[in-house]
Amino acid sequence: MTWHRKILRVNLTKGTCETEPLNMEWAKLYLGSRGLASKYLYEEIDPKVDPIAPDNKLILATGPLTGTSASTSGRYVAVTKGALTGAIACSNSGGFFGAELKFAGYDMLILEGRAKEPVYLMINDDDVRILPADKLWGKSVWETEEWIKKTHQDPLIRVASIGVAGETGSKYACIVNDLHRAAGRSGVGTVMGSKNLKAVAVRGTTGVKVENPREFMQVAQATKTDLKESAFTNGLTQYGTQGVTSVINATGIYPTRNHQQVQFEGADKIGGEAMFEVRETDGRTNMVRNSACFGCTIACGRVSVIDPNHFSVKDKPQYHNASGGLEYESSWAMGGDCGIDDLEALTYANFICNEQGMDTISFGASLAAAMELYERGYITDKETGGLKLKFGSAEALVEAVELAGKGEGFGKDLGLGSKLLCEKYGHPEVAMTVKGQEFAAYDPRGAQGMSLAYATSNRGACHLRGYTIAVEIFGVGTKLDPLTTEGKAEITKLAQDTTSAVDSTGLCMFPNFAWTLDQYQQLVQADSEGDWSMEKMMELGERVWNLERLFNNKAGLTTADDTLPKRLLETPAETGVGKGLVALLDKMLPEYYELRGWTPDGQPSNDTIKRLNV
């Protein structure tokens, strides 16, 4: 129970689809989802492999709680060596696809090799087929989903696919499932595209059972009540992640114009409340309603409709319908980071990112970098093909997102990601990345814990690998001074380990605003056989973190990669809570290594490896 104890292994080179038993020894150590899939990747590929070579593997994995009635049980992860980063990538997505994969009877899908011609995978419980995707190649995510459901005559098929961005080699292509849910970061969609795999479609009817049903139902109910009663999760229900825009901007950790400023004068125009404002033009609001991923009782998802009179969609009726709306990181990356305050344009760009399968954060931040290159005169209309990449230009955003989505014109350059783009034009200092991945929407100069969290994140800059913002800004559980470095190594480690454990359960991390690891632990224990005490859960988190680190070290990453761009380390913030401060990474990094039980050069020590049974 819990685990189906079954893996589906698809070799696209050979055209084979085989099932095999789940390695239960590993499952007892790594639980599922992020942890277990990372273990498989670690054991099965050479970390030095070129991410887009056939020898890289792409693993789509569920967790033991995926597909149960625990709240937020719709998660799956895409684990691979990231095309954007060259580091281990683990992108987490909600929607309905993950639960469906579990219902089809699989804990994990391992995709190997490269198909000769474009294909898609159709999974109908035990019936698994690799089918030609010649009619789908060149099509968007939305067209692909529609075509597959129609062709197989089942509207309940769930699809995870890549758009044209993933076909044309954009470094930050994502895997989009259920039209607008994405395993977004690190270029997992790029890897999928390199395998000539357009889509994975699933219909599952076998169901999921839990180990201790009575106990499980009780815990599931109690933990749902916790979510219902928490102000944090209620905030998510009402405003989605967008609800934090005003707070983060007011605090002064809202990176603006490629991190040149930390506060954006137009933030309130693109935040959670703005989505509820009635538009003069059509009398509607941007926000249509909130929507849930599978099993989620929070329902932070936004469904939006663009003003049909807006220039971005005026002659494009296909975009006049409702679709997935902005969440905070997307709104920030394409908005604040580019100095753009046009909510409708951002919503349009969001639609296109979903439709063509691009990570909104990396796309937005890459555009921000390109805008800085342009404004500084490092690139001109000649390079951009006439695109006027001015900060604040919604027109530029709309044009750029279309080009990037198709990998055409300057869109091809944008698809390189900030790091390669800026290197290409001779100004690497403009790229705001760690390990090649663009930052999320928090400037670490005013939340020092994030300096460490960003620098040491195993998948490159990311807010979901140790969200110290929760304690530094929001005071979830406890409140720490955001400006000091004291205790930040410890809190970062704790956040990283907790997140690693949470990500291995199959649940979302958002309940963590209302829960502690305790609730996750109770759910896992009731759901799964074996001992999953709190102690084991913390150990699990730390084990997963160290495993990812070992992968990266073997891939050739060193302590030199645990750093931040010069701008954050050397240029003080001009305003906000961190005014006058830089990111004080050096003060925290050695302490962090020590706490982790790593050598000064960032290698997990033998003792640590042994202690954690990595």
């Binding site: 597909g67 149960t68 009635s69 709240s71 309905f96 639960a99 219902f103 309940l156 039209l179 219909r203 599952g204 009817t205 076998t206 169901g207 999921v208 059972k209 839990v210 049903p213 749902k224 219902k228 249509v288 309603r289 909130n290 929507s291 849930a292 991923c293 599978f294 099993g295 989620c296 009782t297 329902a299 998802g301 469904v303 939006s304 409709v305 319908n321 409702a322 679709s323």
Partner: protein, 168 residues
């Protein structure tokens, strides 16, 4: 007072907790594929519509069953499939004009909503009160019932419609 399921699509977020609860009640596992309540998603409108049997008075399924396998629960008014009697002929699945009786190929029987004996799991599981179990008089099911009457093939018993011409 007889109760019935009241469905308010405006409140539904599409989380499918109801589908899981239903399937769990039915077969002890989380398996939306076998749920008797289904959420339909109107992507273009951002709208989620929960849909299940209204336990209509006409009870086409009950009347169409050739082996007397669908009976009315006197307490709840639910039309209940007796699994042991159902032979799996599927006539009820085409007879129900609401499409709320489905054939389950794995069990070889049909499945439909039975109101969980008067304590519907879907309503309990719904986090937003999009599905509630309330006094029958209150429910928006009236509309569906009106529509049901349009399908009437003269099969309503005379007690309900004395000497009035049935049908259109």
């Amino acid at each position: 007072m007889q109760k019935s399921l009241n469905i308010d699509p405006n409140k539904c977020t599409g989380c499918l907790q109801c589908e899981m609860a239903c399937a769990y009640e039915l077969e002890g596992s989380f398996n939306p594929a076998h749920s008797r309540i289904k959420i339909f998603h109107f992507e273009e409108q951002g709208r989620f519509v929960p849909y299940t049997c209204t336990q209509c008075a006409e009870a086409w399924c009950l009347h169409a069953c050739p082996v007397d396998a669908i009976k009315m629960d006197a307490t709840t008014g639910a039309k209940v499939v007796d699994e042991a009697t159902c032979v799996g002929c599927k006539v009820c699945t085409i007879a129900c004009p609401f499409g709320t009786v489905n054939y389950n190929q794995s069990s070889g029987k049909v499945i439909k909503c039975d109101l969980c004996g008067g304590d519907p799991a879907c309503a309990k599981a719904c986090p937003t009160e999009a599905i509630t179990y309330v006094d029958a008089n209150w429910t928006g099911l009236d509309k569906m019932r009106e529509w049901a009457a349009k399908t009437d093939t003269g099969t309503t018993t005379a007690a309900a419609k004395p000497s009035a011409p049935a049908g259109h």
